[in-house]
């Protein structure tokens, strides 16, 4: 049986310099300065928040799921996890977490992966990677499909068994739970608030999340 260690934050939402709701199916690209604290709140519970981070001055240096799990010696992300870049740098550290476990193996849903996973006829449905593409296209900052790498799924539970099986387990989050990160360098954060309707992990009910930033 696995242990979840929950860590609460003392930060006051009324003092945040940024406080917005991001509905499901929408994207968000935002710069977070070094030292700032960034919180994602799972407002209604078990919402997947597909998230990528980049070094703000060089986006070729970006979040790497494999480097992150290997360097901490474990596949789940929680308080204390240092989010590593493809160039071996620390992008951000998780400093508070009232959910206790986040996934970085399951990747983001896509029109094409939905076709493979569920049915060839599912291509029409909205997906995270379409949100990522749309958000980057509108940003006009030169970032494209090849910058959409393997992401974090905040609030999602994707256990691996000792036999090497991968499962999409029941949610471990609930309404109001949150994860908080401290930027260790100037970073860009790209989020797709997941619109997936084919997967029971969000009870087939995508919901909004709240995003807050504090200046330290």
């Amino acid at each position: 049986m696995s242990t979840f260690i929950l860590t609460e934050s003392t930060l006051d939402p009324s003092k945040a310099i940024y406080d917005q709701i991001l509905p499901s199916g929408e994207g968000w690209l935002y710069r977070i300065d070094r030292g700032q604290i960034f919180r994602i709140v799972d407002v209604e519970g078990n919402q997947a928040v597909d998230t990528l981070f980049y070094n703000a001055v060089d986006v070729t240096d970006r979040y790497s799921a494999q480097d992150t799990i290997r360097e901490q010696g474990g596949i789940y992300l929680t308080t204390g996890t240092r989010l590593m870049s493809s160039e071996g740098r620390v992008l951000a550290t998780i400093v508070a977490d009232t959910c206790g476990r986040h996934d970085t193996l399951g990747g983001a849903c896509a029109a094409e992966s939905n076709q493979v996973r569920y049915a060839i006829e599912k291509r029409w449905m909205h997906s995270c990677r379409d949100t990522f593409l749309s958000t980057l296209a509108k940003a006009g900052n030169g970032m494209t499909k090849c910058d959409i790498t393997h992401n974090i799924n905040f609030f999602m539970n994707v256990p691996v068994t000792e036999q090497g099986g991968l499962s999409f387990a029941d949610g471990v989050s609930a309404g109001g739970r949150y994860v908080e990160l401290r930027a260790e360098m100037d970073i860009l954060c790209l989020i797709s608030n997941c619109p997936q309707l084919n997967n029971p992990c969000n009870a087939y009910n995508p919901t909004p999340v709240r995003l807050l930033i504090w200046k330290q």
């Binding site: 049986m1 696995s2 242990t3 986006v59 070729t60 240096d61 790497s64 799921a65 494999q66 480097d67 799990i69 290997r70 010696g73 474990g74 596949i75 789940y76 493809s86 160039e87 071996g88 476990r101 193996l105 399951g106 990747g107 983001a108 896509a110 094409e112 992966s113 076709q115 493979v116 996973r117 049915a119 060839i120 990677r129 499909k145 090849c146 910058d147 959409i148 790498t149 393997h150 992401n151 994707v158 256990p159 691996v160 068994t161 000792e162 090497g164 099986g165 991968l166 499962s167 999409f168």
Partner: protein
């Protein structure tokens, strides 16, 4: 088995290689001495933005290890490489690859000036060198597979390198389901606890093999694999 050897290549330990493997040709990897590690990334040779995506590969097949029957899938839902034969049973999709700083920290400094071609190579630089030959670079790095290596995950999520996973003579066959740009290197696994820099050689055998038929094991391994094959076959109508 109706297969013809087209050519062979020996990749020494710490070495690298890349090649466009033609559709339905097979790349056989042979662990000559036992204990090899072969890091691999793969791209649709005709459209390299269509590329290996391990999260898609793993979640479609509900697995955190790779073996016979599994298909390496692209982010566009395509089948890139099918594992048609495997004498090992477990290949690692989790551990990723090391870089120059990690190799120096673990094994000490060993630059080209002092060691000539016995210098310490690292997987990150080797990947970038081979990617660069096709106009690809850092933005094109994807999560890689480590063939011949195994990393166990326990109930708490902790990762442990499993020594002795691959014996001398171990073989795994990868059949291309489209023309696939394969980028590989033979650096040690980044979680290999051995204190010495001693990457092992891997022999590559490129074979002409029959195309998969309707009863193909990999195609039928899961319904997801079948749908990935259908999407791939649409590229060739």
């Amino acid at each position: 088995m109706n297969e013809t050897i087209l050519f062979e290549e020996m990749v020494r330990g710490g070495g690298m290689w890349s090649f466009v493997l033609r559709r339905h040709h097979t790349l056989r990897l042979v662990d000559i001495d036992g204990g090899a590690n072969l890091g691999l990334m793969a791209y649709n040779a005709g459209q390299p933005l269509d590329r290996l995506n391990l999260p898609d590969t793993l979640k479609a097949q509900y697995t955190a290890k790779l073996s016979r029957g599994n298909v390496l899938m692209s982010d566009m839902g395509h089948a890139l490489l099918s594992i048609t034969r495997d004498t090992v049973g477990w290949h690692d999709p989790l551990g990723g690859h090391g870089n120059a700083a990690m190799v120096e920290k673990k094994y000490g400094p060993a630059g080209y000036q002092e060691r000539r071609n016995d210098w310490h190579r690292n997987a990150h630089d080797n990947f970038l060198i081979e990617l660069g030959k096709y106009g690809l670079g850092k933005r094109d790095l994807v999560a890689n597979v480590n063939f011949f290596s195994r990393v166990n995950v326990d109930a708490e999520g902790r990762m442990r390198f499993h020594p002795g996973n691959s014996n001398a003579g171990a073989e795994v066959d990868l059949r291309a389901e489209m023309d696939v740009l394969v980028i590989l290197n033979t650096c040690q696994h980044p979680l290999d606890p051995g204190p010495k820099y001693q990457p092992k050689p891997v022999k590559l055998v490129i074979l002409k093999t029959p195309p998969p038929d309707a009863a193909d094991f990999c195609r039928n391994f899961r319904e997801e694999n079948k749908r990935s094959f259908i999407l791939t076959e649409r590229l060739f109508l």
